[in-house]
Structure formats: structure tokens, C-alpha cells
Subunit: 275 residues, 2 copies
């Protein structure tokens, strides 16, 4: 492919670990329809659904189906077709780009503040990235026809979807800049903060190997950076479980990128606690 490409030796290892994820995925297709979680209030755990006016909300309600998002499940593949728009109510979904030689980078991250599958309403039907569940959780999914109808109305739903897309764009731009200019240490802090912002507790189930895949760096690099944070008592980790002990401490170390993304988020989609 590329003669002058960086040697893909280690990249192969990364690819393997991604394969592992994908196999997990095929083993566990989305179950959980009609679980105990299915009570009206759960919908409002997704901030976008929560922000919908009553009128749109009642229209969409019957279309929404609750599903479980197991760790590692691939919501959509690069170039693949989507049949649903997803509104997470818990857990984290990563938008991941995987290069032809197996190296990968996280492009953006979505939790219960957003939705997964913007290409459905943007018009492309597919994108060049992959969406993977990074932390298990649940989501409501909406079939494409319903989505398109509601979007075409040009009302609150369209408005929210587009604003959310704009925050995603900000996140992607910031990731790009961060990749270029900031140290691995800072990027790890950013990643940790963005992630725990999307969880209720401050505990992540995530190995350093996977974090390395997200950040697009070597696992050893993450070990080193995480080691520093642990020494500073900001986090604690062992065997795929990371606990944030001192959030303000992380915020001191992180680069500007985190704040930019967060501020832009609050500017565009101020979250109102659902009634």
C-alpha cells in the first residue's frame, strides 16, 4: 500500500486486539428488548431525548426500542450500512478509525449526552469510521424510516440532532489538534475525563491496551503515563479497572482540549434536568 508507511509490526498486535473486540461483538447481538429497564423515565436519561418537546417525544416514543450495548459491540462498521439511530442512556460508544495497516485512533466519543449514527440524517448512510461500545450500557434505538420522517419535519429533533453533530465536529477537531501538539500524558488525562464524564461512577472497565488503541499510541506509553497518574494518586488501576481518585487533579494536568470540548458542549446543548 504505502512504501514509506511506518512498520506495521506492532500495529498488527493492535489489530488483533481489535479483532478480539469484534468477535465478542458477533457473539453477542443486541438482546434485551422489553427488559425491566423499559420504563418511561429511562428515555429521558438520554439528554437529547430529554430535551425534546412533548410533541416530538410522544411521536417518537413508540419507535424507540431499548437494547443492551455489551462491551465491544460494534454498532456500525466503517463503510457499513446502519439500520438504527442509537440514543445511549448509559455506557460509552467510541468512534474509531482503523487504518489499512491496523493502527487505530479514536475520533470522538459519545455517551448519554448524544446519539450514534449521524450519517443517517446527514445523508451519507455510512461513514469511514467504526462505532464500538467502549463501556457497556443501554441505548434506545430508532429505525431509519422513523428517524428520517422526524428529521424531515425540521423541528426540534432536527435542531437537536444538528447541534449535537456540531459538538461532535468540535470534538473531532480538538482530537486532531491534541494528536499533533500535546503529550501522551495530557491526552490520557483528556481521555479519562471525557470518559468518566459519561459515566455515573468514576470507574472505567478498560485495559491499557485498549486505551492505547483509542489514543493511537503504544500500550507501553499508556503504562508509563498511567503510572505517573497513579503515583500522583490521581487514579488507581489494576487489571482493566481504572478508578479516578482525584478529578480536579486530572483537570489540572489536562490540556486545553478537554475544556474546549466541554464548553462547546454546554454552549450548544445546555442540559436541562428532565422534569
Amino acid at each position: 500500500m504505502c512504501l514509506t508507511e511506518h512498520t506495521p509490526s506492532n500495529a498488527t498486535a493492535r489489530l488483533l486486539s481489535l479483532w478480539r473486540i469484534r468477535e465478542q461483538a458477533s457473539r453477542r447481538p443486541p438482546p434485551d428488548k422489553g427488559s425491566r429497564l423499559k420504563s418511561a423515565n429511562n428515555h429521558r436519561k438520554n439528554h437529547l431525548l430529554a430535551a425534546l418537546p412533548e410533541e416530538s417525544y410522544v411521536r417518537l416514543l413508540p419507535e424507540l426500542e431499548l437494547i443492551a450495548m455489551p462491551l465491544g459491540w460494534v454498532l456500525y462498521e466503517s463503510g457499513g450500512r446502519l439500520n438504527y439511530l442509537y440514543f445511549p442512556i448509559s455506557g460509552i460508544v467510541s468512534l474509531l478509525y482503523v487504518t489499512t495497516n491496523g493502527a487505530s485512533s479514536e475520533i470522538a466519543i459519545t455517551g448519554n449526552e448524544g446519539l450514534v449514527g449521524i450519517s443517517l440524517f446527514m445523508g451519507g448512510e455510512s461513514t469511514t469510521n467504526r462505532a464500538v461500545v467502549q463501556c457497556a450500557g443501554h441505548a434506545y434505538r430508532m429505525p431509519v424510516p422513523a428517524l428520517k420522517m422526524e428529521f424531515a419535519l425540521g423541528g426540534a429533533f432536527q435542531h437537536l440532532a444538528l447541534r449535537y453533530t456540531q459538538t461532535l465536529i468540535t470534538q473531532m477537531a480538538q482530537t486532531s489538534v491534541c494528536n499533533r501538539h500535546h503529550s501522551l500524558d495530557q491526552q490520557l488525562c483528556r481521555w479519562l475525563l471525557l470518559s468518566i464524564d459519561r459515566l455515573k461512577d468514576s470507574e472505567l472497565i478498560m485495559t491499557q491496551e485498549l486505551i492505547a488503541n483509542m489514543l493511537g499510541v503504544r500500550r507501553e506509553g499508556v503504562t508509563e503515563a498511567a503510572g505517573k497518574l497513579q503515583q500522583a494518586k490521581l487514579i488507581n488501576y489494576s487489571r482493566g479497572k481504572i478508578t479516578v481518585l482525584n478529578r480536579p487533579g486530572l483537570e489540572k494536568r489536562v490540556c486545553e482540549c478537554y475544556a474546549v470540548v466541554k464548553n462547546e458542549f454546554e454552549r450548544l446543548l445546555p442540559y436541562r434536568v428532565p422534569a
Copy 2:
């Protein structure tokens, strides 16, 4: 700001060169209204305008005003308010992110295939990046009220604008990955190809210093990478003028990122030659 931030010493130099740009900009506000270029067919030099059905086109025509985009002109500033949506018919506009310590990175690039100011219809009104004219040219601009009205119709215009936004997202994602995984040499090739794709001739007015700002690297690095390309007779440059001599040669050296962006572009917005 960031204690562990990379030293901003050289970044300062970069900032200065950006200042220079901005001063040029304030010296030359958009003139050129009603120039000789103003003939009906010129609108169609912008691919998005060209793709509009007659019905929308005639509605928008009276709203469009031709302006010149001088080199270095800032269409909008990070966080700043926009009053127009721009449809370039020639020249190149860079979306640039500048960090607090003065380092910068190009996020995406727009020519006559697209439009500048997506935040206007996405809903944010502003973005965290800056749009700078990288190669002088002309554009039609549309005032915000007209834009919003047309967009709200939910017709072809909305459709095209959103599809274009999707290609822009692809470009940003790819830039991010490229920043992480590919060598400066390859990135330079990508940048050159993306740029000359948006120009009629294969000549760029651009110093290595400025390219370095776009790519977010040191000028010396660009000198070295460009030197290799010149030795290989792929390009020729001197004092701020770069000529591409051997396009296929560049395409052999470039990383996958260029092709991904280009293919996605053609998939989403196949350009039909205007009648």
C-alpha cells in the same frame, strides 16, 4: 496554562506569522462587488450551487453576492460570529485551529467544491476554529437570513449542505488519524494533493513556513520533506511558489488518507458538470 505543555518558543514564531496573515486581512476587507466576474455562469463554478435544482437556484440567485477572497483574509475567527455563508468559486479556504500557546493545525480545507460556515446551519452560529484564505480567489456569499430560510425548507439545499458537512467530517477525521500515524512526508503529499485538487493550475502560492502552520509542524521539517519531493522531480518550488510537476508521483507517496477523503467526497457529492 499547561505546566507540562511543550515549550512554546517556536510556536511563538508561528503565531507571529499568523498575525501577519490577520493583519493583511484587516487591511483588505472584501471588495469587488459587481465586478466583471458577475455573470450568471460563475455561480455554477461552485459545485454545490451547480448541483442545486433550478427552483432553489433562482430563489437563491438574488441573495448571492460576489466577493474577492484575498490571500490571508480571515472569513471567521474562532468563536466569532458569522454573517454570511460563503460559496467559493476559486481559491482555497483553510479551517485552522490555533491553540492557546500559538501552535496551529489545519482541520480541513474547502474550495469550490464546498461552502464555508457550516455552523450557521448546524445551529451553533460559531465554531472553535478559524477560516483563513490560503489561496486567493472569489466566492459568493449569502446572508444568514436567506440561508436559514432556504435551509428550513428542507429541500435540495439542506440536503446538499448536510452531505457536504459529512464530507467535511470525513476530512477532519482523516486529518486526525494522519496526524497520529503518518510521516511528515506523507502528510505533505496529502496536503499538496488536496490543495491542487481545488485549483485549476498546479501552482500554489504558499511558503514552507505557512505549510508548516497548516500541518502543525516545524518549518524545517517541511523544508526537508519538500526537498525530497523536489529531488524526486515531483514538485518544484522557490520563494513561496510551489509547482506540482508529477501528480501521479505524489499519489504514489501519499498515505491512504488522501484517497479515503477523495472517495468519500465522490460518493457523497458526485460532481455533475453544470449544463
